[in-house]
């Protein structure tokens, strides 16, 4: 019997990046699945680098910009706070691993919503996935 998505198949991508947050602005980072690729998404890390709390949301859209899922609902993250997504209601720092099948052209948006007058900062985020060629 074949095994589902063998551990040695494809490659792991972490999509780590920094995103600049300014004073009281809303910023979105978009991560798109490349052509001829398939991602099995496990989740990732979100960091609010600002000195005020910000709501963060992670959505999934298809290539036609239609929302097909929400991997992290709008959740307040404190100043200089980390969360993993998806997480559990019991603990925002407890990673609840999933595995989501996304196709080429689908994209994930990570949005840091404005939280009021602030100093801004360099937020970080990741999206860990196993990428295979199709």
């Amino acid at each position: 019997m074949k095994t589902p998505l063998t551990a040695s198949e494809g490659r792991i991508v972490d999509n780590f990046a920094t995103t600049v947050l300014g004073n009281n602005d809303t910023v979105t980072r978009t991560i798109t699945i490349p052509a001829n690729r398939r991602w099995w998404v496990y989740g990732g890390l979100l960091f609010n680098a600002d000195n005020v709390a910000r709501n963060i949301t992670v959505n999934i859209y298809n290539a036609s910009a239609q929302r097909i899922g929400i991997i992290f609902p709008t959740q307040a993250v404190g100043a200089a706070g980390y969360v993993s997504y998806p997480n559990t209601l019991n603990s925002a720092t407890q990673w609840a691993v999933c595995l989501l099948a996304l196709k080429a052209g689908d994209y994930i948006t990570i949005t840091w919503t404005a939280g009021g007058a602030s100093a801004g900062g360099s937020a970080i985020s990741s999206c860990i996935a196993q990428e295979v060629i199709v």
């Binding site: 019997m1 074949k2 398939r38 929302r67 959740q75 609840a96």
Partner: protein, 135 residues
């Protein structure tokens, strides 16, 4: 046989669901085509109405027999739900790679109950991303 990660194709089964104004129940049915097998990853539904809607998911076989049924969830305006649902997972995400596997002729029906109060109606998003393989 369980597919490998690069097998078949991913489909998202996205569709907008029109919610008429008033107190009208709505369903959306998604059927697995002939000679296909679906490994469903998750199901997504948002409530585009201005009134809370009770919504639940039922999976049937080709004979109309119920294979799976979710609990009914009261979904507030502009809110959403992802199935399978667990109270322990923020936003109700699936915790396994394959949430459920369906054969040709099986179908998923999203049941959206009539609201208790007259509503303005609206457009809801719905999707069932799945890996589809030929059989």
């Amino acid at each position: 046989m369980i597919p490998e990660g690069d097998e078949g194709r991913i489909i998202d089964n996205y569709a907008a669901i029109v919610l008429p104004p008033g107190k009208v129940a709505v369903t959306r049915t998604i059927t697995v085509p002939a000679n296909r097998r679906w490994w469903c990853s998750w199901l997504f539904y948002s409530n585009g109405d201005d009134t809370t809607r009770n919504t639940y998911i039922v999976v049937y076989n080709s004979g109309g027999l119920i294979l799976l049924r979710s609990a009914s969830a009261a979904i507030t305006p502009s809110s959403y739900r992802m199935w399978p649902y667990t109270f322990f997972i923020q936003s109700a995400l699936p915790v396994m790679k394959w949430s459920f596997v369906l054969k040709a002729g099986d179908y998923i029906r999203i049941w959206i109950d009539a609201p208790a109060l007259d509503s303005s109606g609206g457009i809801s998003d719905s999707a069932v991303p799945a890996l589809e393989v030929l059989v």
